[in-house]
Every structure is written in C-alpha cells, then in structure tokens.
C-alpha cells in the first residue's frame, strides 16, 4: 500500500502535472458547474436501441477535467475497485492528451469504455471525490470522463494494446468470459501467461452481451475490448463448459497450471408464488438473453420473444431497469416496475432510475406481487398485487417492507419479468467435490488472493459474491490474476 502512495506522489510531482495544476486557480476550478451528459430524447430513444447517453463533446470533457483539483490525497481512488489513477487520467484530458488519458485507464482497467458506462460511480469514486465529501458540491464527473477518454481512443482508430511480458509459456485457464474473466485474462496476459478463456455460450462477453442492453452498452464497444485482449495473445474458446465439455483434470493434463472461475450468477430466482410458471412470465435473464444475445426482437433472427402490451417487471435493481426499459422498446403501452420497498432503497443506479422515468416507465414502489392468473391457454393475463409500507431496518440495513392487509388489487398484464436476484451457477461446484462453497452455493475464497479451497483454482465475480456489479467482478478478476501469478511463481521456485 505504501508503495502505491509513494508511486502516486511521484507521479503527481511530475512537471506536467505541477504545471497544469498551476495553470488555473483552485477557486476558478471549484466555481464551475458539473457538465451534463448529453442524452437522446426520451420519446425517441424509448422506441429504438440507440444509446441513451451520447458522450461528452471534447470541449466539455476539458471543462470538466479542469474541475478536478488533482488532490495530493486522491480520495476518489479509494472508491475505485480496480484502483484507476483517477487524477492522472483526468489531468491528461485537461492537457488534451486524450490518448494518454486512455493509456492511464488501461494501466489498471481493461474495459474502460464499459466501466465508464455501467459503473455506479455515485457510490464509488464520485462518492469519495473531494467535491462530494468536503465541498458538498456535485463531484467531478469521473465516469463521464472515463468514457470520454476510452471512446476517444476507440474512435481515433489508434487503440493502444497494453505491453505484455515475454511469454512464459505457462498455460492458465479462465472459466467464463464476463467482466471478471476478461479482467483476469488481461492481467495474466500482461504477466506473460498463455491464457485461454472458456465460454459456455456462443458469444464472448458474458453479462456484458446477454444482460446489459444495447441502449446502455452497445455490443460493438464490448467487441473492441475483446479484440484488444486477442491482440494481447488471449485465446477464446466458445461453446465450452469447463466441468462438462472437459473436466478440470482433463485440462490439467493438457498443461493448464491454474484456473480462474468467473462463471457468474447462474440460476435466476423466482418468488415461488402461485401461477409463476404461466407463459409470458420470464426471469430477467431469459428476457434479456432473448433480446440482447439472441436478437429475438429482430424478425430476421430465429429466436422468438413475447412483446407484451402490459408488462410488469418485478424488482428494483439495474437488471429490473434494463428489463422494463427493454419492454418499452419492444412496444409496451404500459411498462411497470413493481418493487416492494421505496425508491430510496432501490439498488439500481440513480441514472438508470432517472432514465427509466424519462422514458415513461411507471413505478409502483411499495408494491409486491402475490399471485398470477392466466387465460385458458396458460398465458398470464392478470396479477394480484399487495401494497407495502416500510417497517424497521432488516439485516441489510434497509427498512423492511411490511404488507398492508386488505390493500390487495389486480392489474392486467400479458408479460411479467421477474428480476429479484440470482443464485450462483451450480455447474462448477457440482464438477468439483473438494471445492468449498457457502450454504448459498458461492465459492469460498481468500479475500486477498481470491484462492479457493483448491490451491490451483481462483474465483471471483458473482460466483463468489452472489450478485454484484461489473466493476466489482473486474476488481476480483484483477486480484485473482495477481494471486495466481504469485501462486504459480512460488510453485516454480519450490520445484
């Protein structure tokens, strides 16, 4: 840790940084208003797949970068799960060295264009920005700037491929190509390993492809980041389920020395209320996978999806917001969020809630589904809902929703998307009898190294956390890569 502080201090004292700091008075920097993200018109975007946020223009990115005070103690960095050198990349933008800014991001983050779009910055870096904690002003728009630098680099066509060490010819396997796996793969490639990523689906990217919709994270952006990893020598194998297509032992026989498991959040949870298996009721995973991964809304593709007129989405997380906004885009007249707590307790990013409201999404907060009803063909046509009120805080610290007796009522629906969380995917634990898992089915790992009870197996992301964010998964992937590197190097030394 001290080394990092030392390093940051050294970086900050470089001549260019000192010069840019002096170029403007702190008072002038702090008197500026935070820039606004340009957005597509809500009534246009809710009928198309166009990206909602269109990105900062160059001049606004520079203005925003000027707000950053380049603090001697950059508290913002404590809020970043992957430890981006935030002031350094922002000051690069201020000096108009946009490609340099992108390089700084990529020192610690393999997917900056993704994180700039989907990270909950308001509870991470921006929540610990000097403006937030000391000045009580809106924080520097770190997320917007991250996206700006990454997009600038991609659009310039001058993508910088990070340096990789000379190949050490040691094979390592990554299970799952979502954010955790891609982050681990990037770091291990930098260390010089021969990295193969195994993906169960036919597409690389995991939740970035099947889960997060195009209007929030265009697939082309994910593909560019994956291409970058390929240029770094990372190999990808789709349609390959480790533990099924080949066992860990088979792969070890093929020379794999260590593994990182980032197999993600497997099983969707349902509420186990009457009628939940009627047609027209989906898990958010199924609904989003059909639309995002399988392109079901496009008649040229073979996969079907039901596009309802009255759609209820159960839940208050980012996935619920993605589902309800997708339903609107598929032509729903009425797209509703049904959430059992109040807006304050919603786990979704503030921006997603704001965007959803602008797009004509109805919010039925403090409401909970009780039962579904169907027509004679078994297709859902109505649901029973109960009103809730907030009681005492529960184990999560959020106020517990309590049903209001006698408040039940009915709503007509033809599509329901259940988005109340996921349980860990059982495939890997089932394939490894010696693997220690929690009662919830998540893999038990050392918090620092991400090593599991099987020494050569490391894990991170939702298979360890049980449901978290892209950036936390990436942070795990990076930690695990360091842990694997140390484990393998020590093993070599011991022999």
């Amino acid at each position: 840790m001290e080394n990092i502080l030392e390093y940051l201090k050294e970086e900050r004292s470089q001549e260019w940084r000192a010069e840019i700091r002096k170029s403007m008075k702190a008072k002038e920097r702090t008197s500026r208003e935070r820039v606004k993200m340009p957005e597509e018109d809500p009534n246009v975007r809710n009928k198309s797949n166009i990206e909602v946020n269109s990105g900062l223009p160059i001049e606004n990115a520079i203005l925003e970068a000027q707000r950053c005070l380049d603090c001697p103690d950059p508290t913002c960095m404590t809020g970043c799960p992957v430890g981006i050198n935030i002031p350094k990349f922002i000051k690069k933008i201020e000096t108009k060295d946009f490609l340099g800014a992108a390089s700084v991001l990529k020192e610690t983050n393999g997917l900056p264009a993704v994180c700039g779009r989907v990270c909950p910055q308001e509870v991470q870096c921006e929540s610990t920005c000097f403006y937030t904690i000391k000045l009580k002003k809106p924080p520097v728009a770190i997320g917007y700037l991250e996206r700006f630098a990454a997009d600038y680099e991609r659009e310039s066509g001058k993508m910088n491929v990070p340096n990789v060490a000379d190949s050490n010819k040691i094979k390592v396997g990554i299970v799952g190509s979502g954010p955790a796996g891609l982050a681990a793969a990037g770091d291990l490639a930098k260390f010089g390993y021969d990295v193969t990523v195994f993906e169960a689906l036919h597409e690389i990217g995991g939740v970035l492809k099947y889960g997060i919709p195009e209007f929030r994270l265009p697939n082309v952006i994910v593909d560019v980041e994956i291409d970058n990893l390929k240029k770094m020598g990372v190999k990808f194998r789709t349609n390959f389920i480790v533990g099924k297509t080949a066992s860990f032992d088979d792969l070890k026989k093929d020379g794999f020395e260590a593994f990182f498991v980032g197999s993600g959040a497997g099983l969707p949870r349902f509420m186990n209320i009457p009628g939940e298996n009627y047609n027209g009721i989906f898990s958010s995973n199924e609904y989003l996978t059909r639309v995002n991964l399988m392109n079901a809304a496009d008649p040229d593709y073979d996969t079907p999806v039901i596009s309802g007129k009255n759609v209820a989405v159960i839940g208050g997380g980012n996935t619920a917001m993605d589902s309800v906004r997708t339903a609107k885009r598929l032509g729903a007249d009425r797209a509703m969020i049904i959430y059992r707590r109040s807006e304050k307790e919603m786990p979704a990013r503030v921006e997603e809630i704001k965007h959803a409201k602008e797009e004509d999404i109805e919010f039925m907060n403090l409401h909970n589904p009780l039962e579904y009803y169907a027509d004679e063909s078994g297709r859902v046509n109505r649901m029973k809902i109960q009103k809730m009120e907030l009681g005492e805080p529960d184990a999560s610290g959020r106020r517990r929703p309590v049903p209001i007796e006698g408040s039940e009522f009915y709503v007509d629906v033809d599509t329901v998307v259940v988005s109340v969380g996921v349980s860990p995917n059982p495939l890997i634990p089932k394939a490894l009898a010696d693997l220690k898992v929690t009662d919830w089915g998540t893999i038990v790992v050392d918090k620092e190294t991400m090593q599991s009870s099987i020494p050569e197996l490391f894990a991170g992301g939702d298979i360890v956390r049980g449901g978290a964010t892209v950036i936390l998964a990436m942070g795990d992937g990076r930690k695990a890569a360091a842990g694997m590197h140390k484990y393998i190097q020590e093993k070599i030394k011991a022999n």
Partner: protein, 278 residues
C-alpha cells in the same frame, strides 16, 4: 463448428445425424443433451444425444422436423457444419442394477432412450423395451434396441406394425405379466404423462426425460422450468430426468406451447423460403 459426418433418413420428418464433436463424445453419458445453433441468426435448441463414439470423436443425434431450427438441421448434408454445438449438458441417467427395467420410447424419444437401454442392460438388468409410434415408418432404431433388450414390443397407433394401440397398452401388458422394478419413459410430453399415470397405478418408480424449451441450457435463463413435486426445477441443470410421478405434465405441455403462434408463423415463412430456394 461441428461437421456432419453421416446422415441417414429414418422417415419423411426424422433424420439421424452423426456430428464431429470429439470433446463431447469423450465426456458424454446416457441422458446428456447438447444445445445446437445453426447460423449467426439461429436459435438455441436442446437435443438429447442418442449415442457417441469416443474413439472416433463423434456424437449421434436423431432429429424430427418440427420447426425452423430442426427443419434447418434436417436439411443439412454430409460435409455441412453445425455452427454451434455445446455440451454435454444435464445430469446423466442414474444407472444401476435394480432387476427388471421397462423402457418406453415414443417417436424420436426412442433415440435418447437407446443409450439408457444399453446402460441398464450392461449393468445386469432385465430390460424390456417398448417402441411406440403413429405408424410403421416412424418406428426407429428397432435393430439397435433389440441388441440391448431382452424383449422389444412394438406399438403403433394404426396397427401397421407390431401391436395396435398406445404405448400405455404395451406397458400394462408387461406390468400385468411380470414384476417391473423401474420404468424409464421418453417421448412427447403427452405420452410421458399417460405413461407416468400407468406406472403410478402400480407404484413403479418411473423416470421421464423432459424436453422443454431452453435458451442457454446451463441454468441461466429458467425457460425450461417445470414443477416437480410442487417445486420449480430447471430441466437443464436439475434434469433432464425427473421422477415422472411428481412432474406437472399439464404445466409442461402449456409451457411447451409458449411460442406456438410465433413458431408456426416462422416455420411457414421458413418453408416458403426453402421452397423458393429449391
């Protein structure tokens, strides 16, 4: 990509395909299935593996044309590639020596039943197999089934081959005649429903292999969910085989029809394009 190595036409709508899939061939067991996808715009459908040759590195699928994807698959020729094949998926059949096993297969359900019949026979059981179909030309894999069965009974709806009647009539006949310790049924959902009701009467433990709609096949989406003993289970990771007496077949039948309208429309569109092309 998996190349088609052999193709055999069983009947107008049923085709046997042998695919090059060395890894799957090596690790698959009776009861496992694969997910296939044809072309960039294809959908993912599950198909149970009929047999595999680990040495040659291939797997055999028996496919019935029922929709766009199965239609496309049946129209592929030797040398063509199936874009995506992933597996083996699901839990393997639990095979052990129990005594007498009554295996009943309906339509193309006979194909995934073959490795199970073989497995129970090799485990030292007496195996009685019933093959059921609408008519003679739809009876498949009879020769292979005879190889691993102590007795094969053929049932056709129209009486064009074997005995006239439904699969349940054949099952009743065996159960009346001798002690059956276990039954395995694979076929259309409606056939499995009545087969399960038949063995339930006699309290014979019965497994059914369910063929539901799936997307990923790895537990992620929940499209395949069924109620078993009043609890929701995922066919892809908890199955595909379940205690047939606990399965809610009526719910399963309704769920199989979830996309009936879209599927029909897409199939008609597909047939039209296929016609224009040929």
């Amino acid at each position: 990509m998996s190349k088609i190595l052999e193709k055999e036409i069983f009947s107008k709508n049923v085709v046997k395909l042998v695919l090059d899939a060395p890894e799957i061939a090596r690790t698959r067991k009776p009861g496992h299935f694969v997910i296939i996808k044809i072309g960039k715009k294809g959908e993912r459908i599950p198909l149970t593996i009929a047999s595999a040759d680990a040495k040659k590195g291939n797997i055999t699928l028996v496919v019935q044309k029922v929709g766009v994807t199965s239609g496309k698959l049946c129209n592929l020729e030797v040398g063509d590639e199936v874009t995506d094949v992933v597996g083996p998926l699901g839990e393997a059949t639990h095979i052990e020596k129990v005594g007498t096993v009554l295996c009943a297969g309906g339509g193309v359900g006979v194909a995934p039943l073959l490795p199970i019949v073989e497995g129970f026979k090799k485990a030292g059981n007496r195996v009685i197999t019933i093959l059921a179909a609408r008519s003679k030309d739809l009876i498949i894999l009879e020769k292979q089934m005879r190889e691993f069965s102590d007795e094969v009974i053929i049932m056709t709806d129209d009486g064009s081959y074997g005995k006239k009647g439904l699969v349940t009539a054949g099952m009743e006949e065996v159960i009346q005649r001798e002690k059956v310790n276990l039954s395995v049924v694979i076929g259309p959902a409606i056939m499995m429903k009545y087969a399960a009701l038949t063995t339930k009467k006699y309290n014979i433990e019965t497994y059914a292999s369910l063929n539901t709609i799936m997307v990923d096949g790895t537990g992620m989406c929940g499209a395949c969910r069924v109620s078993v003993g009043g609890r929701t289970k995922f066919v892809c990771v908890d199955g595909p085989e379940f205690d047939a007496h606990q399965v809610d077949f009526d719910e399963m039948l309704a769920r199989l029809g979830a996309y009936k309208d879209q599927e029909l429309e897409a199939y008609e569109r597909y047939l039209k394009t296929a016609e224009t092309l040929s």
